[in-house]
């Protein structure tokens, strides 16, 4: 009898354990209807919709959480939104067609990929001025920065390369060939590796940051899906560096990868054409943007189960979460 009581108690404990998560604002850029949707990470409900410039895609937040930066691709600018008032307070000179960007760890510099110009524009956030323009491969897209801020990686969609850029000299120090149409670059928290997703190639290339060589190529296989439907885009690695999450585009799934064995441990079903990912600051939830089903999905990172999908604007593209 006692055994059953323990069993029952265990069951309830497991249910309660999923417990309190802190509330943070989740910002989602909606590419088609030119808005940013604000979602509360605790209640998982939409709290506000902000009108922004045309075709908002890349989105990130300052480390103090006061300013939101949004790539208004068709307006050729990066807009700054005050997170307290939800008003656009200024713009950054991004150069034409900004798609994706990355903020330096010190929060002072923004690196922007200009898709049409084959450039990476380096912007001083405080002065709102361009520091440098770095010529890269054709159609630059993915942007990642090492935790120490010394190395920036840009991927060029058509050249199929990852360009390693020294952030002190703004020069390319290495070019690594990856698979077709690289979309995203994500450093491991210890800076040892950078993971590059290739949308058409359907792979993740793991590049060693010291040797600048591909040490592993990860492929995906989902029962009942054509391999062409598996298009890796957004990549996020947990703060402890143990798990990586990869958004698989039209496969409507997020892959969970063990970063030690490089094995895919699970595919999580989310909405249609999953694009970008973001963790909540406590790391308990991962949020995916699902472009074609116009929603975002909250995933519990402990159980790797989807919790809830929330409808946002049209064609959600990027996502970022306010710090604590």
């Amino acid at each position: 009898m006692r055994r059953y009581i323990y069993l029952l108690a265990g069951t309830f404990a497991a249910v309660i354990h999923t417990g309190p998560v802190s509330a943070n604002a989740v910002y989602v850029s909606n590419e088609k209807d030119n808005t940013v949707t604000v979602v509360d990470s605790k209640t998982m409900e939409v709290t506000k919709t902000i009108e922004v410039g045309q075709r908002p895609r890349g989105i990130t937040i300052s480390h103090d959480g006061k300013h939101l930066y949004v790539c208004a691709s068709d307006d050729d600018t990066v807009e700054i939104i005050d997170t307290a008032t939800h008003e656009i307070t200024g713009t950054l000179p991004s150069g034409p067609d900004p798609e994706l960007f990355v903020l330096s760890p010190d929060g002072k510099t923004l690196y922007v990929a200009n898709e049409d110009d084959n450039l990476v524009t380096v912007i001083d956030v405080d002065k709102k001025s361009v520091i440098s323009e770095i010529p890269v491969g054709v159609e630059p897209e993915g942007m990642g920065i090492s935790p120490d801020g010394k190395t920036m990686v840009n991927t060029s969609e058509t050249t199929n390369m990852a360009h390693f850029i020294d952030t002190s000299t703004h020069e390319i120090v290495a070019n690594v060939l990856v698979d077709s149409r690289p979309r995203f670059a994500e450093f491991k928290p210890d800076g040892s590796q950078v993971w590059i997703s290739a949308e058409i190639g359907g792979t993740i290339s793991v590049i060693d940051n010291a040797s600048r060589e591909v040490v592993k190529k990860i492929t995906f296989e989902i029962q009942g899906l054509r391999s062409e439907a598996i298009q890796p885009v957004g990549v996020r690695i947990t703060a402890d560096g143990k798990k990586a999450y990869v958004a698989l585009g039209p496969a409507n799934r997020v892959a969970v990868i063990n970063t030690e064995t490089y094995e895919v441990e699970k595919y999580i079903l989310v909405g249609q054409r999953v694009w970008q990912l973001a963790f909540t600051p406590d790391g308990k939830n991962l949020i995916s943007t699902n472009g074609l089903s116009n929603d975002i999905t909250f995933i519990d990172t402990e159980s790797d189960e989807p919790i809830k999908s929330v409808t946002v604007g049209a064609l959600p593209w990027g996502v970022t979460v306010a710090p604590d």
Partner: protein, 289 residues
Amino acid sequence: MTDAAGTFAGSPSEKWKGFTPIQYLVCLKGILQREWLRYLSQKERFVSSLVRPLLWLFIFAAGFRQVLGVSIIPPYETYVLYEVYITPGLCGMILLFSGMQSSLSMVYDREMGNMRILLVSPFPRWYLLVAKLLAGVAVSLLQVYAFLAIAWFWDVKAPVVGYLLILPALFFSGLMLGALGMLLSSLVKQLENFAGIMNFVIFPMYFASSALYPLWRVQEASPLLYQICLLNPFTYAVELIRFAFYGRIEWTSLIVVLAVTLALLGGAILAYNPARGLTVRKQDMGGNQ
């Protein structure tokens, strides 16, 4: 049982009526035990009751996974695989078949004369029929949990507490479908007529419900079919189970299931004539009854 009843003093009529609750339980236990022994002796029945929903889960659902894709409707809060969607429907299917099967066994009992032995018991007829119904539901609950255990390994999982919470939903749904079977068994004259039940009851009830497709999708295809689904009590049984998996009570379904159970059970008790099949046969054979 008659010995126990015999301890009551008074006139003979009082002697048959006044049973203690304990005696009622003894009777229930006896009927449950018989149903259990019978179930154990029919291994094929257990296997077939498992194979049927598993075929739907492994083959039908796997094939339809990419075709259908289920949108988010309550009680689901995010996207689910088609396998997950049809699992409550398959639980309902087990209860439906099991309900019909116990009615089949009642027709058989009647033809073989076993039913008369049961009804010779001094307990009220309604009580004997309800006890028989409960015995049938108990057996079908076991079948549902066996199915869910296998589905778990197929990665069709619900929240763990959901498996406890569906128990009352399964019980009431099982009661409703069992009562339906009982009513039908009182209408069916002979065992041979039972194939008709398969065609005219089980299949229409199963297909014209929310078991396989969400109702909004049915509505898109045919508004008429949608109305039929809404009139089908099986739809409510499935929805009751589906919501219970996620710890929610679908009140409309609960009320419909309970009301239909009471109506069917009342009908079955009123209509039940243990001698019916036998009588008809004797007449057919030229008996002078």
